[in-house]
C-alpha cells in the first residue's frame, strides 16, 4: 500500500523551463492538495482539488497550474520556472470532511537555477 506517491523526488531546472510534478494516491480520497515548503515559512497551499475534474486556488497559486483528470492523480505544472519557485513540494490527500487528517507524500525537492 503506497499511500501518496510523488514523482520525481528531486529535480533541477533552468529558469524558463517547464515541468510537471505528479502526485498519485491509492486511498480513494476525494480531496488532494499541493503545498510548498520554504525555510521559516511552514507549508503554504498552492492549489487543491475537491474531486475529479475540479481544482481551486490556494494561498500562493501564481506561476502554477494543476489538473485532476483522474481521481487518483493530481498534477502540478510549472509553465516557466523561476528561481523563486525553488522549494520542496508536498502533495496531500484527505477524505471529505473538515475533521479528516491529511496524508502527505515524501515531497519533491525542486531547484531552479
Amino acid at each position: 500500500n503506497a499511500g501518496v506517491t510523488q514523482t520525481p523526488k528531486f529535480r533541477v531546472l533552468k529558469t524558463g523551463q517547464s515541468m510537471t510534478l505528479l502526485c498519485a494516491q491509492d486511498m480513494n480520497h476525494e480531496y488532494m492538495y499541493w503545498y510548498r515548503q520554504d525555510p521559516g515559512m511552514g507549508l503554504r497551499l498552492i492549489h487543491y482539488s475537491v474531486g475529479e475534474g475540479t481544482t481551486a486556488k490556494g494561498e500562493v497559486p501564481d506561476g502554477y497550474n494543476v489538473s485532476r483528470l483522474k481521481k487518483q492523480n493530481f498534477l502540478l505544472g510549472l509553465e516557466s520556472a523561476a528561481p523563486s519557485q525553488t522549494s520542496v513540494y508536498f502533495c496531500a490527500t484527505a477524505e471529505q470532511g473538515r475533521n479528516q487528517p491529511q496524508h502527505f507524500g515524501d515531497g519533491t525537492r525542486l531547484s531552479i537555477l
Binding site: 492538495y33 475537491v50 496531500a92 473538515r98 515531497g107
Partner: protein, 113 residues
C-alpha cells in the same frame, strides 16, 4: 482567516526531559486543530487532532495536546523526550475552503544526550 502561530522557532531539550511546544490559533468559531511531525527528508505525519469533546487529546508516540479556548492555544506535550523525537513540528488549523490546512511556521526540536 484561520491562522496559527508557533512562537518558538527552535527548542532544545535533554533526552528524558519533558517537552512543551506552543501553538496559538486565530479563529472565531471552534477550530479544527492538528499537530504534525516531519523528520528530515520526509513528509508530514499526523500526531493528533482536535475538533470537539475532551480538551486533552492523546496522540501517537506518547504525545498529547491540550486545547484551551480561553488562551487560544493548543500546546503539544510529551513527558519524556527520546532522541528519536528530534524533528520539525507543525501546528495547523483546518480551513473552510477545501478543508485545507493553514500551517504555523514550525518548531525545530533538538534533543541532546
Amino acid at each position: 482567516a484561520q491562522s496559527v502561530t508557533q512562537p518558538d522557532i527552535h527548542i532544545t531539550v535533554s533526552e528524558g526531559a519533558s517537552l512543551e511546544l506552543r501553538c496559538n490559533y486565530s479563529y472565531g468559531a471552534t477550530p479544527y486543530l492538528f499537530w504534525y511531525v516531519q523528520s528530515p527528508g520526509q513528509g508530514l505525519q499526523l500526531l493528533l487532532k482536535y475538533f470537539s469533546g475532551d480538551t486533552l487529546v492523546q496522540g501517537i508516540k506518547g504525545f498529547e495536546a491540550e486545547f484551551k479556548r480561553s488562551q487560544s492555544s493548543f500546546n503539544l506535550r510529551k513527558p519524556s523526550v527520546h532522541w528519536s523525537d528530534a524533528a520539525e513540528y507543525f501546528c495547523a488549523v483546518g480551513a473552510v475552503a477545501g478543508y485545507a490546512l493553514n500551517f504555523g511556521k514550525g518548531t525545530s526540536l533538538l534533543v541532546t544526550p
